[in-house]
Amino acid sequence: MQVYKAPLRDMRFVLHELNDSAGLAALDGMQDVTPELIDSVLEEAAKIAEEVLLPLNASGDEEGCHLDNGVVRTPKGFREAYRTFREGGWTGIGCAPEYGGQGLPHSVSMMVSEMLCATNMAFSMYPGLSHGAYEALSQHGSDAQKALYLPKLTDGTWTGTMCLTEPHCGTDLGLLRTRAVPADDGSYRISGTKIFISAGEHDLSENIVHLVLARIAGAPAGVRGISLFVVPKFIPTEDGRPGPRNGVVCASLEHKMGIKANATAQLVFEDAQGWIVGEPGRGLNAMFTMMNAARLGVGIQGLGMGEIAYQSAVAYARDRIQGRSLAGAKAADRAADPIIVHPDVRRMLLTIRAYNEGCRALGGWVSRRLDEAHHANDPAEREAAEGFAALMTPIVKALFTDLGLESANTAMQVYGGHGYIRDHGMEQLVRDARIALIYEGTNGIQALDLVGRKLPAHMGRNLRTFFHPVAAFIEANEKHPMLSKMVTGLGRAFGALQLATAHIASKGMGDPEEAGAAATEYLRLFGLVALGYMWARTAKLSLEKMMSAGADAAFYQTKLQTARFYFERILPQAGGLLFQIKAGKEAMMSFPEAAF
């Protein structure tokens, strides 16, 4: 059974203790954000996730979305749940107060997103995509566009989509063909076919705001000819209500592996009226400026999946009795011991746990820096924070979704055959978690972004925003009487990362294929070191707090033990990754294509 209680204690640890949430109030426009406010927000969000969304997770998966005569019906209960969610003001959590939003920091809304993704990833994507559209319009839209669309996207009465993908073009957007023809009134007529559009058509909102990439007639080929358009399903009237139907229809819904309760639509645009967002030819740039937040958001989907997988697996491992402990019976009054006594089951559970808590800490750090990038008073601080967030974005996206899938898979293993059977809900987690490695830029593309763009950016300045604090931490703590073993482990892995970075810098310069061949392992190595740094900081803080923590001492004690597992059983993979990276491209690239 899918089991989930929002991990509020750990979220508070990440927000308040690791990242000093009290300091958020010093940021521009955040003066009301206090730790107490954050706690009440998280507690109420937890109720919605546990009581409203989780009960619809398995049923939504079973029923899926249905297309009937161009009209899409979401699964039973989704409309009511969306209304509860919207009326509660949750669609506007990160939106600006001037459009009716709550303007809460990213570091807080990230935790709320995690709960939504864990309990119902398919549902979470409806408001998720809307927020993507909100971001794109708020950064690039005209004043009139903002005034028209942003209040509706904020209060959730209208939802949004991002229409990039076409049948012949996914990763390589330079190939896209959807055309935009200028009309006399300053708008455009958009024609073309978009596929795989999440939340592309549904019955949750009174209007859908499509953000569409298209090529203006006569524009150059390639990415420089691409512009961004806003194409509403119903053309708004003067007073901002949904008016006449626009020329966009849902031709079909994809039959897919997971997130079945989220409608993945094929949309056909036929002379649909659209309005350009930003400058002609700058469409891809407009998309990219909002991509940091969107990619972090997808990373958080992976984390949410990992969390519900963990809790479900622990519940089962305590309950299921099978075999006897290798150290002698533990539950002598029963026919067998619960499987949680077995070393291999513990290995699985602790692996998921160490990933989850490490990722939550890392996600908390990156989103906190993103808050500083947007709201710090000092421009230099904003720039440094921006550089850090840009560097870490592909890591959060790819690492978290990789680990989320691994965790869902591992949790299924804990269930044995019962995990493979539908009733327990574990196979749904595996199916749902799978997509996050693919969309919003495949994980392979994230790795290329890291080595190709983020490492060399500003002569390595972004890289130093991560390397410096890690190096300083290691230096300050390597002689720590209680932590030196962990810090030594971190130092070794960090050394491997430095060597790998140097390898890519020297080899990749002359031969980009070398960089491409190393990218995926390099991203994993970087990610493991980043999690290691989070675990080392966590361990240090836990040691300090444990002495005076009273009943909470158990929380810190558990942190220390999980940290130990991470350093002993996971981080050593860094050494192997360095070997793989240094082996270079030859084994792959000299392989004759015909021999595949």
Partner: protein, 249 residues
Amino acid sequence: MKILVPVKRVVDYNVKVRVKSDGTGVETAGVKMSMNPFDEIAVEEAVRLKEKGVATEIIAVSMGVAQCGETIRTALAMGADRGILVETDADLQPLAVAKMLKVLVDREQPTLVVMGKQAIDDDMNATGQMLAALLGWAQGTFASKVAIEGDKATVTREIDGGLETVALKLPAVVTTDLRLNEPRYASLPNIMKARKKPIETIKPADLGVDPAPRLTVIKVAEPPKRQAGKKVGSVAELVAKLKTEAKVI
């Protein structure tokens, strides 16, 4: 008309309570605490009366440690207007709470006190009745329906064997049962606004009440563990076991 709603901070209903190893009570340290579910129903009822235009102001009162302020915030986020926290580390029992509430009622002059019929920590089911007695007010306990008209409240009560409807002359004390309503989720904007609503903090001494406990807890213990069931092979065996082992027939 003003409504006063007392709210208690208790161990969250999802938490599996554990008895302290020394048998003096249940473990509350490091345990998730929330508003007593019956009190949530009371707040919800008050807010609905305000939305209907019957009530004009809702005052949420909590008594106990400083963190009870967070329980008041929850009530404020649901729609209460202001809060009063009577802060004390004393072990509060129904009589002391009722006495302190009486002083607050005298001061605030509400027309209605709506409160939970019991708190899920000690299940006392006493404070509302005691308060009504101390005030000399009418009481409608275990309410599953409340209607206010003029200076009269009609309260449907859940009693053994069915429902009873009573008419109360206001002012009155109403205690809530589970079926009265389904509490709302606090909306995000209201959670944010609740931070700005006032909470007055006072001490029991300010109310002239000595909150010292009158009841002494001798021992708290776990209920005996349930034995595993047994499968019987025949009716005869069942009857025999019911006679000799269970000793029920």
